[in-house]
């Protein structure tokens, strides 16, 4: 199958530094988002006044309990008029899909220069780690909160356990995700964790929610990343080499639904990342398959979800993700499908998925710190979480 001709491209990426949790204070969410947006405009060679659309995800959330707001950003940055502002629903699952939302706005003629942005600041009252445990009880949450699964990693540990039970997946596989991702972060200046992680370190670490230990959990960090999307035609007149949007998809099936906030998934879906349907649709839209992908930026809030996404995106058969990872397949050096070459959420920084889009853009420009030689297609995924989950394939301009 031939690639569909792309119609849009990413033309600019900007970010603040990444900060340990809470240390971006006293900057505000608007300030962090604004800095990332201005940096993306500078990168693209565009004025912030050229922005006429906002395509968010996570309900334009600015972390756990707070939001970004288009009008405030317009007021603050001096954006004269916008013709599109919308968000994907739910949470981090939409990160990659927000670029698809930007594309949709451009293809529909509703906007010409669309920014997707995430700004995250985890002050003590707005932490990821406590988001499930501390939230006010609701009738729905009362069926999950009392069990003591206080954070998303605790919830996902139950999925990981089932995957181990069904397929014989070992903790060594989760360790390999943590160790290989750390190795990628060692050389990356933006990464917050740049000391080597050994297998001994992993197996000696504190257990948080068995079978998961400290190094299975991503960092809790602050920061903002903004991505600018325009038509491919316009992109060709701008500062950077355009990075075409080959395909984007978001959604998911009812069997996944609210996922680990629900736990009612049928067995095969339970021990998965919930991405299978989106992956299939994404590849169909792009006219490519897993063998065509050169680098995969997989949402790594928790190591088992990398293993399960590798299965759902077809890099290995269902159930074989553990052995696949343990074979060294996801290593930057010598792997068949390098994963999270930027150090991911586990070791670079956690900005709810947008760091992965940033890395995919750098890989397609050929400027990544851990550049995959001759990489022509990059896959980005949005967090295994409540629907929508999402995927994005970026390419190189012909």
């Amino acid at each position: 199958m031939a690639l569909q001709p792309p119609d849009t491209a990413i033309v600019g990426v900007g970010a603040t530094p990444y900060y340990p949790r809470g240390e971006s204070y006293p900057q505000t969410i608007t300030e962090l988002a604004g800095r990332a947006i201005l940096a993306a405009c500078e990168d693209a060679g565009l004025s912030v006044k050229d922005i006429d659309g906002f395509a968010y995800y996570s309900m334009a959330g600015g972390g756990y309990g707070r939001s970004m707001d288009t009008a405030s950003l317009m007021e603050t940055l001096g954006i004269p008029e916008i013709t599109f502002t919308a968000s994907l629903t739910a949470g981090g699952g939409g990160s990659a899909g927000s670029i698809g939302l930007a594309r949709a706005a451009i293809v529909a003629g509703d906007a010409t220069c669309v920014v997707s942005v995430m700004a995250l600041q985890q002050l003590p009252q707005y932490r990821l780690g406590g988001v499930f445990g501390k939230a006010e009880p609701t009738p729905e949450k009362s069926f999950i909160q009392p069990a003591g699964l206080t954070g998303p990693g605790h919830l996902m540990s139950v999925l990981a356990r089932r995957h181990m039970h069904m397929y014989g997946t070992r903790r060594e596989a989760f360790a390999e995700v943590a160790v290989s991702t750390r190795e990628n972060a060692l050389t990356r200046p933006t990464a917050l964790r740049r000391t080597p992680l050994t297998l001994d370190d992993y197996f000696n670490a504190r257990m948080i929610a068995e079978p998961l230990c400290l190094y299975d959990f991503c960092m809790e960090t602050d920061g903002a990343v903004a991505v600018l999307t325009t038509s491919l035609e316009r992109a060709r007149d701008l500062r950077q080499k355009p990075v075409p949007v080959i395909a984007a998809a978001h959604g998911g099936r009812r069997e996944w639904g609210r996922a680990f906030s629900w736990m009612g998934m049928p067995e095969e879906t339970f021990a998965s990342s919930g991405h299978a349907a989106v992956a299939q649709r994404l590849y169909g839209k792009a006219g490519v398959g897993p063998d065509d992908i050169d680098v995969a930026l997989l949402y790594d809030h928790f190591t088992p979800m990398v293993v399960m996404q590798l299965e759902d995106y077809g890099f290995c058969p269902k159930g074989e993700g553990g052995a696949f990872v343990e074979s060294g397949a996801i290593r930057y050096k010598g792997g068949s499908i390098p994963v999270n070459t930027h150090g991911g959420h586990l070791s670079e920084g956690y900005v709810i998925g947008m760091t992965h889009v940033r890395e995919a853009v750098e890989q397609m420009r050929g400027t990544a710190v851990n550049q995959v030689p001759d990489a022509k297609l990059a896959l980005v995924s949005g967090g295994p979480a409540t629907i929508p989950v999402s995927g994005l394939i970026l390419g190189r301009d012909a």
Binding site: P137, P139, I144, P146, A147, G148, L149, M207
Partner: protein, 150 residues
């Protein structure tokens, strides 16, 4: 080796909220009964309780009292609970054999955490939480427990 047995969270740490759809579940628990909504039109069980049957969209339900038997579908052992230094909580997703398709996310209590297994047979118990409510939790099923229940 004497293991620290698993427990539920302290009552004051757990608050629940109800609405008209979920309240029968909690009212039954308060009477130490485990109940689940079954679609009155097609017989499909669902948990948590929701306003519509996802199979046939009916809003009619029968609240069925269950036997209280369950089995571990998957679980996590949590030991890092702030303020409860030596406590171990086994959070479990359980299947309910007499409400097929419906699951509960609950606790396995009074168990050696190292002995908990997927497929382990459980029986319901009720643990106090805030505001006078009782939370359905589960303990390992043994003939002795069965005798007491019977």
């Amino acid at each position: 080796m004497s293991a620290v047995l698993s427990r539920a969270l302290p009552p004051e740490r757990v608050q629940i909220a109800t609405d008209h759809v979920t309240e029968p579940f909690w009212q039954a628990a308060r009477e130490r009964r485990l109940a689940a909504p079954r679609c009155a039109d097609c017989g499909h069980f669902r948990l948590p309780p929701t306003p519509f049957c996802p199979e046939c969209q009916s809003q009619k339900v029968d609240w069925v009292q269950l036997s209280g038997r369950a089995s571990v579908f998957s679980f996590s052992v949590v030991r890092d609970i702030p303020g409860l230094d030596d406590a171990v909580v086994v959070a479990a997703v359980v299947d309910l054999p007499d409400a097929p398709g419906a699951r509960l996310v609950s606790n396995v209590i009074d168990a050696d955490p190292d002995e908990v297994r997927i497929g382990m047979e459980l029986v319901v118990d009720f643990s106090p939480v805030s505001d006078g409510w009782l939370l359905p939790v589960f303990r390992p099923f043994t003939p002795a427990v069965e005798g007491k229940e019977g």
